[in-house]
Assembly symmetry: C2
Homo-oligomer: 723 residues x 2
C-alpha cells in the first residue's frame, strides 16, 4: 500500500475495498510502482522545463495509466517496433507526448535516448512537439490535431479485424492478433471527426478497440463546464460502445480490472472513462494553467521533493525503476519469438497466404499488375472518368487484396463498389468494401489508421467538393506519409444540376498547395489507368484522383505510361507554313478540359502550329528532369491553360489561364460550361488574344500586364439577397 505525503495523496492509492483486495490478489500499487509512476511524472516535467515549452499537465496525470499499459497490458517489443502483431497504442491527445517519449525511452526503444528526451521540441530532434510517426518507430500515428488519433485508432482496429479474418486460419489464429489502445482527452471527444469515427466503430463492433478517456474536466479556456457538459458516457453507449467509469486513475488495480473487462467485451469497442487531476503533484494541479506551460523552476523543485527526488537534479531515473521498465520491455522479445514460431508454422501450412501477407506489409506490388489495367483507343466508347475508374478499380481489386475501402455513402455515384468482395461489416470482417456512412472526415481519418496498420492500401471515395470536410485528416495523410487513395468524383462544375454547393472551384488548387499530395486529373480512360498506376506506386504519398461525372471521349495520343510523367505532348497540328515545325502556341489543361483544348487546337491550327499538352499532374511533372520539362514547354512559346477550376496557381505553368473566378451554377452541365466560357470557341478567342499580346517584343513581362484571361471574366451570382 502506498503512503500519503502532505495534504493530498500524491501516490497511487486504494482503500481496503479496492478491486485487488476483493479478489485477494496482490495489489499493483506498491512502493516500487508508485516510484515508477512518479519517475515518469518528474521526467516529463523535466522535459517540458528544459524545452521551456510543452504540456506537462496530462503526462503527470496520466502516468499511472501509462505505467499500467506498458508494464501489465500491452504486447510490444522495443527491439522491433514494427512487429506486425504488436498492440497499437495511440496517444490521441498528442500534446501529452512527453509521456509517450518517456515510456518509449524507459522500456527500451533504442531510438529514444535520454539525449532525445533532453532535446524535446528542438529543431532536428525526433522528440517533436507532437508525436510524428515519420520520426520515431514506435509512434503509430502522428497526433496533435485533436480528434484524429482516436479516429485513426478505429482504422487500426478495422485493419486488424479485417486482416485477421482474411489471414488467420484454423489452428493459426494468432498471426494477425492485437488490440488497439487509445488515450484521449475532452478535446478529442468534442471534435466531430471522433464522433463520426466512434459511431462507425460501434456499428462495426470493434471489440479490440479500447479507449481510455482522460476526464480531467479541464480545457485550455478553463473548465469543461464552459462548453462541454454533455453526458459522454451516455453518448458512447448510444453509439453501441461498452462504457466503464473509474473515479481515480491512481487505482491501478481498478484500472487493470476495467481493462480486462474491456477485453472480455469481444463485439463492442470499449471506453473507460477515468477521472484524473491534470498536473498531478504540481502546485497548479487541477488548473488549466498547468496544461500548456512548463511548471517553472520552483514548482518543479516542489514536485521533486514531494515525490522523494533530489530537487537539484534533472532527468534522473532511479535504478530500480529503470530495471522495472526495461524488464517490462524485454518481455516483448519472448512474445515475438513465440509469434515467429507461429508464423513459421503458418508459412508451412499456408505458404500462399503467408507470402501475400508479407507482400502487403512491404507495399510490394505483384508481377504484371500494371499491364492488366485496360488501355483505350479513340474508337472506344466515351465514358465519365469515374466510370473508367470503376473499371480500373475492379481490375485491380482481385489482384490486390490490400485494396480495401469504400465511399461516404455515395457508392452509386462514385462507382467504387467492388465486384470481387462484399461489405466489411461486423459479421463479415473479411469483406473489403467499407460503408463509411456520410462521414468524410471520419472516413479519411479511418483510412489513415488502416494504412498505418501496415498492410493495406485504403481507398476512400466521395465528391471532390467534400474533401473540404476532410482536410483535417487529409493533411495528416500527407504529413504522415500514408498513401491513401482518394477517389474523388464529380470534380468540377461539370457535375451540373447539383449546383455550386456541390461544385468544386477552389479544390484542385487547394490540393496542389499541399505538400506530399499527388493530384491526378485524368482526361480519359488511358489516363485513369495511369492515375491508378501512379497512386499504387507511391505508397507513402497520398493521391487524389479527380474524376468527372460527365462523359469524356478517349483521346488520340493519351497514354497510361505518359500519365506518370505528369504532363506530355498529346498532339501537334497545323502551322502557318502548311504545317510542321516548332510549336508557336501551346494549349494545356487537365481532365475534362483536355478534349476542349484539342478541339480548340484544330481551329487554331488553321493559322499557327499548335501543341496540346495533357497535364494530369503538376506534382509528377515537377519530379521530371529539366530537359524533359523544357521539351514539353519549350522556352519562348506562349502557353494557354484551360481548367474548370480556380486559376490560382496556373501562373506557374501558363501565360494565360482560362478558368473560374467564382462559384459555379446549377444547370445541365453543357450549359454551365457555356455560361462560364469553358468552350472550344472561347478558348480559341482567348488564345488569339494571347498570340497578339506576345506578337510584339516584350521584355521581362509585367506581372500585371499579363493577360490572365480568367481575370476578364466577371462571374457574380445571379441575384443576392444582400444586394
Amino acid at each position: 500500500m502506498s503512503s500519503s505525503t502532505g495534504k493530498r495523496n500524491v501516490s497511487p492509492s486504494k482503500d481496503a475495498n479496492g478491486s485487488a483486495a476483493k479478489k485477494g490478489k496482490q495489489s499493483l500499487v506498491t512502493p516500487l510502482s508508485t516510484k515508477a509512476v512518479n519517475t515518469v511524472r518528474v521526467l516529463c516535467a523535466d522535459m517540458v522545463q528544459k524545452a521551456n515549452s510543452g504540456h506537462p499537465g496530462a503526462p503527470m496525470s496520466l502516468a499511472p495509466l501509462a505505467y499500467l499499459l506498458w508494464t501489465q497490458v500491452m504486447k510490444y517489443n522495443p527491439k522491433d517496433p514494427q512487429w506486425l502483431a504488436r498492440d497499437r497504442f495511440v496517444l490521441s491527445n498528442g500534446h501529452a507526448c512527453a509521456l509517450l517519449y518517456a515510456m518509449l525511452h524507459l522500456t527500451g526503444y533504442a531510438q529514444v535516448t535520454m539525449d532525445a528526451l533532453k532535446a524535446f521540441r528542438q529543431v532536428d530532434s525526433i522528440t517533436a512537439g507532437h508525436p510524428e510517426n515519420t520520426l520515431i518507430k514506435g509512434v503509430e500515428v502522428s497526433t496533435g490535431p485533436l480528434g484524429q488519433g482516436i479516429s485513426n485508432a478505429v482504422g487500426l482496429a478495422m485493419a486488424e479485424m479485417h486482416l485477421g479474418a482474411v489471414f488467420n486460419k484454423s489452428g493459426h489464429a494468432k498471426i494477425v492478433d492485437n488490440y488497439t489502445y487509445v488515450i484521449c482527452g475532452d478535446g478529442c471527444l468534442q471534435e466531430g471527426v471522433s464522433s463520426e469515427a466512434s459511431s462507425l466503430a460501434g456499428h462495426l463492433g470493434l471489440g479490440r478497440l479500447i479507449v481510455f478517456y482522460d476526464d480531467n474536466q479541464i480545457t485550455i479556456d478553463g473548465d469543461t463546464a464552459l462548453s462541454f457538459t454533455e453526458d459522454v458516457a451516455k453518448r458512447y453507449e448510444a453509439y453501441g460502445w461498452h462504457v466503464q467509469t473509474l473515479e481515480d486513475v491512481q487505482d491501478l488495480d481498478a484500472l487493470l480490472a476495467a481493462t480486462e473487462a474491456a477485453k472480455a467485451e469481444t463485439d463492442r469497442p470499449s471506453m473507460i472513462k477515468i477521472r484524473t487531476r491534470i498536473g498531478f503533484g504540481s502546485k497548479k494541479e487541477g488548473s488549466h494553467s498547468v496544461h500548456g506551460s512548463p511548471l517553472g523552476a520552483e514548482d518543479l523543485k516542489q514536485l521533486k521533493s514531494r515525490f522523494g527526488f533530489d530537487p537539484e537534479q534533472a532527468f534522473v531515473v532511479p535504478t530500480e525503476v529503470a530495471e522495472l521498465f526495461q524488464a517490462a520491455g524485454a518481455k516483448g522479445a519472448a512474445a515475438q519469438a513465440a509469434w515467429n514460431t507461429a508464423m513459421e508454422a503458418y508459412k508451412g501450412a499456408f505458404p500462399a497466404e503467408a507470402s501475400e501477407l508479407v507482400r502487403c506489409t512491404e507495399h510490394r506490388l505483384p508481377e504484371g499488375w500494371r499491364e492488366k489495367l485496360p488501355r483505350y483507343t479513340p474508337e472506344d466508347k466515351a465514358m465519365a472518368t469515374r466510370k473508367f475508374s470503376e473499371i480500373a478499380l475492379n481490375v485491380l481489386a482481385p489482384m490486390l487484396p490490400e485494396l480495401v475501402g469504400g465511399s461516404a455513402d455515395l457508392t452509386p455515384s462514385t462507382l467504387t463498389a467492388l465486384a470481387c468482395s462484399g461489405d466489411f461489416q461486423k459479421k463479415t470482417p473479411d469483406g473489403r468494401y467499407v460503408r463509411f456512412g456520410v462521414r468524410e472526415h471520419g472516413m479519411t481519418a479511418l483510412a489513415n489508421g488502416m494504412f498505418a496498420y501496415g498492410a493495406l492500401r485504403p481507398f476512400v471515395a466521395t465528391f471532390l467538393n467534400f474533401i473540404g470536410y476532410a482536410w483535417g485528416a487529409v493533411r495528416l495523410s500527407c504529413l504522415s506519409h500514408l498513401g491513401v487513395i482518394f477517389v474523388m468524383t464529380h470534380d468540377s462544375i461539370g457535375l451540373g444540376e447539383d449546383g455550386p454547393t456541390h461544385q468544386p472551384v477552389e479544390t484542385l488548387e487547394q490540393i496542389r498547395a499541399m505538400p506530399n499530395l499527388h493530384l491526378l486529373r485524368p482526361a480519359d480512360g488511358n489516363e485513369v489507368s495511369g492515375a491508378y498506376i501512379s497512386a499504387l506506386e507511391h505508397p507513402y504519398t497520398p493521391s487524389v484522383l479527380a474524376l468527372s461525372r460527365q462523359n469524356l471521349p478517349n483521346l488520340e495520343g493519351t497514354s497510361a505510361e505518359k500519365t506518370l510523367l505528369g504532363a506530355y505532348v498529346l498532339a501537334e497540328m497545323g502551322g502557318s507554313n502548311g504545317g510542321g515545325g516548332a510549336p508557336e502556341l501551346i494549349l494545356t489543361g487537365s481532365g475534362s478540359e483536355v478534349a476542349i483544348a484539342v478541339e480548340a487546337a484544330k481551329t487554331l491550327a488553321e493559322t499557327v502550329r499548335v501543341r496540346v499538352v495533357s497535364f494530369p499532374s503538376w506534382e509528377l511533372f515537377d519530379q521530371q528532369n529539366k530537359e524533359y520539362r523544357l521539351s514539353v514547354f519549350p522556352a519562348g512559346v506562349p502557353v494557354v491553360s484551360v481548367e474548370a477550376s480556380a486559376t490560382h496557381g496556373w501562373a506557374k505553368y501558363s501565360h494565360a489561364a482560362l478558368g473560374l473566378t467564382w462559384f459555379g451554377a446549377s444547370g445541365p452541365y453543357a450549359k454551365v460550361y457555356a455560361k462560364y466560357g469553358l468552350t472550344a470557341d472561347n478558348l480559341v478567342s482567348k488564345a488569339r488574344e494571347v498570340l497578339a499580346f506576345y506578337a510584339g517584343d516584350r521584355q521581362v513581362p509585367s506581372l500585371i500586364d499579363v493577360p490572365f484571361i480568367s481575370k476578364q471574366l466577371d462571374h457574380k451570382p445571379v441575384a443576392t439577397s444582400h444586394a
Copy 2:
C-alpha cells in the same frame, strides 16, 4: 378522417385514439389537408421530372410536415421575407429543396413563381439544385452539404437568444422573438459538424430550436443499417436535448402536439424524430432508388392517379389548395403589422436601442469608428500581431455590439477575449463571448448561422492550421456571402515548438484559391488595424486575419489605410548611382516576413535601388485599378517574394518566391525559420540570383527556366519510418 386507397394508406391517417380525438379537438387531417399535402407531393415530383434531375423522395415523404409548419406553426410574411421577427426555417437536407420551393410558391413569395418551379435546376434560375440564400429571399441559409443546415440553425437560435437578451425590454419582449425550425435527415446527423453543433446547442440550452429528424432509414448506399445503427435519440438526450419520437409523419395532430411540447421546453433544444417513407406514393416508396432520380413518366402518372390528379397534366394546384396556402401566407401580414406596432412603441421607449438594432440589421457602421483603432510608430513596442489583434478587437467591441464571437477553446492563445463582455451562456445570453469548445467546424457553421440571422458580425478564432477542420463551413461562408471574421493566429512555422502538426504551410494558398474570401496577413500593428477595417467594411465577404504567434516590429511606412489597398510601397532605398531613381528590384511579402524583406533590402540597397512592397491581401490588391497596381509593381522590375508558406500561387505576383515546399518542424521559431532559409541573408542571396538571371536580354521567359527559388530548397523530414 381520411380514406384509404389501394393497398397502402396514402393519405394522412390516424386512428380513433389519436391525439386530436383524445383532446376532443377537430383533427387537422381533413380531405382538404390531405389534398393539399398530396398537391405538394405531386408538384415536387413534377419539378424533378421536368428537370430530369433532382431528389423527389424526401419532398414526397415530408410534405405533411411542410404542410403543418407553413399552415399551423410558423410565423412568416411572404410579402417581407426578411422581417426580423420571422421564424427561421432551415432545410438541412437541402437536396429536398423542391419541397421548400413549392412551399414558398404556394404561400405567396413573389419571387418563386410557377415558372420558377418549372425552371428547377436550370441555368440562371433561382430554383437551384440546392437552395441558395443569395438567390431567393426566403431561403435562410444555403444547404446541401450535409450537416451544415442544422449547425447553421444552432447559430440562428444563438443569435435570437442573444439579441433578445440584449434588445428586448420589460414590456417590450417581442422585438426579437422567433423560433428556429429545422428539417434534417440521417445524412446531416452522421456528419461530425452536426455533432459539434448539437453538443453545444444542448450546453447552451437553446429552447427555441426545434429539429425534425426525417428518420426514413434510407441512405444513398441503401439502408441506414449499412452504416448508421447508433441510437440517435439517446445521443441527443446525452447532449441535453428534449427528444420525442413519432411513428408516422402523416399524423398531423400528433405532429402538432409534439411541436407544441417542443415549444413548451424553454431551456432545452428539441428533436422530434419522425418515421417517414421516402418517396411516399411512388412505386419505389421506401427505396433508395427514389432518393436522387426522377420518378419516371409511368410512376409519376401512377402517383397522380393515386392521389386523384389528372395523370396527363403537370404543375397543377387545385383552387381550394391554392387558396388554403395563400390564406396561410396572408396571416403573416397581420402578424408583422402587430410587430410593427410593437416596434414603434419600442422606438418611443428605447430610441437608442431601437436605432442600434436597426443599424446592426443594416450592417451599417457607426460614425468615427475607424479613427478609434490604434496607429503605431516604429518606436512602439514589438508585439505579435495576435496581440495587436487583441488590442484592436477590444477597441472595436465596445463600439460594435454586433461583434459577437469566440474561440474554439484557444482563448489564451488567440487572445480574443472581450474585456467589455462576459460569456454567452445559458444563464447569461446577453454575453458576447462564445466558448465554442474544441469544435472548429461547428464553430464556423454556427457563425454562419449567427450572421444569417441578420444583425451580427460574428468572429471566430483558432490556430490558422485548423481552418483545415472547418473548410466545409468556410466554403459556405463565402458562397453565401456571410461576412464572418476569422481571427486565425499561429499563422506559420513561426509558431515554433508545436511543430508541423500545427504549422500551416498550404493554408494561405488554400484561402487565396477560394472565391469571395479575403485573406489579410498584416505585418504589424498598423496593418492589423487596417485588417479589421477591411473585415468590418466587407459584410458580405468573409475575411481571414492571419496573425503571428511571434513578436514583430512596427515598421516604418506601414499604414492602416494603405492596408486596404492590398499591397503598397513600404520603402525604397539605395541604388547603384548613390541612391534614388526607379526601382531595380522589388521585394515583397506578407505578415511576419515583411520585416525580413526590409532587412534584406537594406543590404541589397548597397548596390541596387530596392523597393519593398508590403502585400497583406491579394484579394484587395486585385480590386485596385490597373494604374495603381502598375505603380506598385512597375513593368520590367524583377519581383522576389518571401512568405513562410507554400509558394503555389506566387508566380502570379513574383518572378521568384522564397517559401516552403514541405511541412515545418518543431523547435524554437527563429531556429525553424533558419532551417527553412527564411532569413534576410538568404533572401539577399536569392535576390542576387534573380538579378543575375534577369541581367541578360530574355524574351518571353520560359515557364520552366524561371528561377522559382522555392524549388531549390529540398526539405524532407529528418527521418522516416518508411525510408
